[in-house]
């Protein structure tokens, strides 16, 4: 594999109305090629109607060390959870 290859993350929307989901990663020279390979590698069985590719290097991820300050303070704020709403049965993609 050439030294120019970059890692891309692939997101696929399986049908209209749903959001894009991360399905995996691949190597490509550039965005346009990454999109084509995403089509060939991840949609061979009609999995998608829309593809996003993002350079893995462009993703900024939270770290394990962030957990305490990021998430712990939310544990005692149950009023932020929409647990009291009843979802109509027709809504199946929340």
């Amino acid at each position: 594999m050439s030294e120019h290859m970059q890692l891309f993350e692939v997101f696929i929307r399986s049908r209209r109305g749903l959001d894009h989901k991360h399905v995996g990663s691949l190597h490509a020279e550039a965005h346009a090629q990454a999109l084509e390979y995403a089509r060939d590698v991840y949609t061979r069985r009609s999995e998608g109607v829309s593809i996003w590719v993002v350079k893995s290097a462009d993703i900024v991820a939270s770290q394990e060390a962030d957990c305490e300050s990021f998430y712990d303070p939310l544990d005692d704020k149950p009023y932020r959870h929409a647990t009291h709403y009843q979802l109509p049965e027709e809504v199946d993609s929340m």
């Binding site: 594999m1 346009a32 084509e36 390979y37 060939d40 590698v41 061979r44």
Partner: protein
Amino acid sequence: MSTDNPVSQYAVRLADDALILGHRLSEWCSRGPFLEEDLALSNVALDYIGRARMFYGYAAELSGDDRSEDDFAFLRDCRDFGNLLIHELPRGDFAFTMARQYLVDVHSVAFMTDLQSSTDATLAAIAGKAVKESNYHLRRSRDWMLRLGGGTEESHRRLQHAVDELWGFTPEMFEMDELEKSLAGQGVAVDVSRLQPAWDTEVRATLAAANMSIPEEDWQVSGGRQGKHTEWLGHLLSDLQFMQRAYPGLEW
């Protein structure tokens, strides 16, 4: 093993084109330059095998005897195959495979677009499916022409070599014998002689953009439609047909 029905004969030619090129592409499976391209090439190979099945299936239906698509694919010898020679050339290196694919793809897109208007409804329907595939194949192969042509000194050299080797096999894509002229006159077959100017313009533009020099047009080879093949087809068929030859009637 030939059949008198001209449409069936025409369908067998188109099926042979697809089967032989599909087989050449399938030879890359697990040998691609990297995983993503390996899968992409195998996808293209499968598109061609699927195309071959549809054309053979229709030819079998028209032949009016009890032959199946498998009989056409596995039980005919070289002289009965009517594929264009460019499809049977060994896969070569990656540049050769991609250069051939590009030259064939430009032709296929135009060919299948035209065949969609065939007065034969089945051929038109197969073409409708194939043209979408070929559009995608072309997108890939054109991209590789530019990438290899403008890449390293080695990739440029290999691509130029491939184009030079292939060039004399391209005029055959636009030749027509009596069978095809007659079918084209009835609106069944594509008049391929009309496709050449647009193909030429498109290919020359891409070759220029890929920093390729246009080969000298001082040789050309043809004969595939009449069953006159290169030595490579026999080797290919011995591989492709081995199972049915060694174990006649084998099913699984």
